[in-house]
Amino acid sequence: MTDWNAMSDAEFRKEVHQFFETEYPEELRHLPHRPKFAEIEHWHRKLHTKGWVAPAWPAEYGGMGLNAAKLLIFYEEQQRGGVNRGRDMGVQMVGPLIIKFGTQKQKDYWLPRILSCEDIWCQGYSEPGAGSDLANLRTRAEIDGDDFVINGQKIWTTMAHDASHIFMLVRTDPNAPKKQQGISFLLAPMDQPGVDVRTITTLSGETEFCEVFFDNARTPRENLVGELNKGWSMAKALLSFERIFIGSPSLAQNALGQLESFARGRGAYDDPVFRDRFAQAALDVEDHAALYARFADQLKRGETLGADVSMLKIWVTECFQRITELMIEAAGPDGGTVGPLQVGNVSVDVLASFYKARPTTIYGGSNEIQRNILSKAVLGLPD
């Protein structure tokens, strides 16, 4: 077993870069859509053989056991190389929760299946009435013999139509005094009569989001992770690392590179007005990276990140949007054209980039919710 953390940052980065550079299939680089598992299965097998499916998991559970510093490097290289994250909900969300709160039996059963992608997971959190106000969720799970019986509806469930299992937050005590209480974390199989999945077509024409309906669906009681009615705080405890990752510079950096080559090819780059706006965007990306580095250093020193890390997400997602808007401006009369636009030997799908940038200010806690959090937790502004 390699002790990755013992390597220097530069050595480790080189090793990760090399692997992604030589082993990742070219045709899958910078995929514009979320792939179904079948499309990336071959790559997943390679990763699995290498033992790199779960960089954050402890080595004893089949992970790489990376510390925060190494983990950041791993993800940076993954994004830089346009390496698809694959169907990683199991690795990113379920696995860590089972490792932290699950029984030995749950660990032995589920973790190897997550790594091998024998089970493919989707996340059932949001509901029609529980978006930003997630604790308002109403999907019920009631004990019936050895099972939970589930009734209700989840929405924005990413890739539910290509998942075998769903991990979900469900209401198990509707009479709890606070709505954050009475919520449990439950695992359930998708392949059963009581579960109905419908895809949602997005603005970009993709169908990666789904609605999932539960009509007396069943799951064994042993699929409850952690204590009954304690799911809310468990799910929240997981978000700490995600909050810096969701604010990482790479999406905006990649878009800026595309904008630059596109605008050069289109001649927009020589226009003084465009140049100033491009310089603004480029500096917004570069200066964000300086702030990101400050938070990353905090992680590397072993400190926990405070609520202020949310500012990374606000800045970079809004910057990402501005960059894709500049692409459309640079496209001129082609700004409404669906599909890749050819400029010299570069091909840029400006609309795909534009659409890709829109939900970034909505997901992972909308930017408005992030501002609410920062104003209270960081600036100490009153209610």
């Binding site: 630059e260 570069e286 300086a290 580095a293 104003s375 502004l381 009153p382």
Partner: protein, 369 residues
Amino acid sequence: MLSSDQEDLRLLRESARTLFERAGGSGRARKLRDASGGWDSDMIGELAGAGVFGVTVPEANGGLGMGLAAGGVIAEEVGRVIAPEPVVLTIGLSLGLLRRLRPDHPKMEQLINGETTLAVAWQERGPGGAPADATCRYADGKLTGSKAWVVGAAGSHGFLVVAGGQNGPVLVLTEATADGLSVDKRVQADGSSLGELSFSGTPAEQLAEGSAVQDALAEAISDVTALAAAELVGLSDRAFEITLDYIKTREQFDKPIGSFQVIQHRAVDLNVMLEVAQACVREVLAQMDCETVPKIRARLASRAKARAVTAAKKITRDAIQLHGAVGYTDEFDIGLYLNRALVLSAWLGDDVYHRRIWLDAREEEGVAQ
């Protein structure tokens, strides 16, 4: 150039903050503005005593040898209390020139000890400006012509002037009281003044000549530009604190206005802008300490100034709005910060100017994403 570790910088920040706060913080700036529009020579002495002016001068030449990152720490503290003393000017430009061209000159020690202050006259009105096509000439020990936008002209004991000489550009030194020198003061928003200098056969001492002058000037301009960015970050930091305190205490509709979501979100946006600017400028200063290629240092300085001006403009202007009508009065300190930001933004190039310079330099270097 030596760089300093984080602990050194933290201690330096602490002692600079204590020094300025003991001296009266931003209240001191208001008093000086109302009295004369100048600075306090006792304060110059105190700052010199703390080693402030020689912070980036090598120890062998009587300084602290700490690097630009340390200079930035001091500049931020100057900005926080909007101190009118020519700290950034002296560290970045006056000593920036002298330590590169004439570290042996007695004025070095006097500047470091706070016994003298020297303004730097390097720009001229009209196309081009400085220094290669300077119309201000130096011949036979005498200066003729004019110089513009001289910061600190009003209170300085003398001037370092970049002029055209017989063998290319020269750096010369002239006393403020020299014959044939007239200084026309242009009052600035913060009560300071810019000097328009005209020389008619003014006696001056030549310190250096040739391309070395041009090179040293370019380097000193990079330094002082990045330090001015740090001063703007400190200024923005304090302007934001003042505003945050105000919206927490000012009540309307029986509630603090900071409880309203629209105010909260605007405050968050200013805070994010501030944090990005601070991270950018501190990163730039640290990188400049490790970078030796002048063009790259200039690009870095432009990046810092572009960001700091963008942030300071936004923060001080929104700060006035968040204060409401009292923000428009002279009585409230927030206006002092707005006015200082206007002056520091215009000095050495604003955000639009530096974005242009930055992008051109980036292209020239072939820095692509």
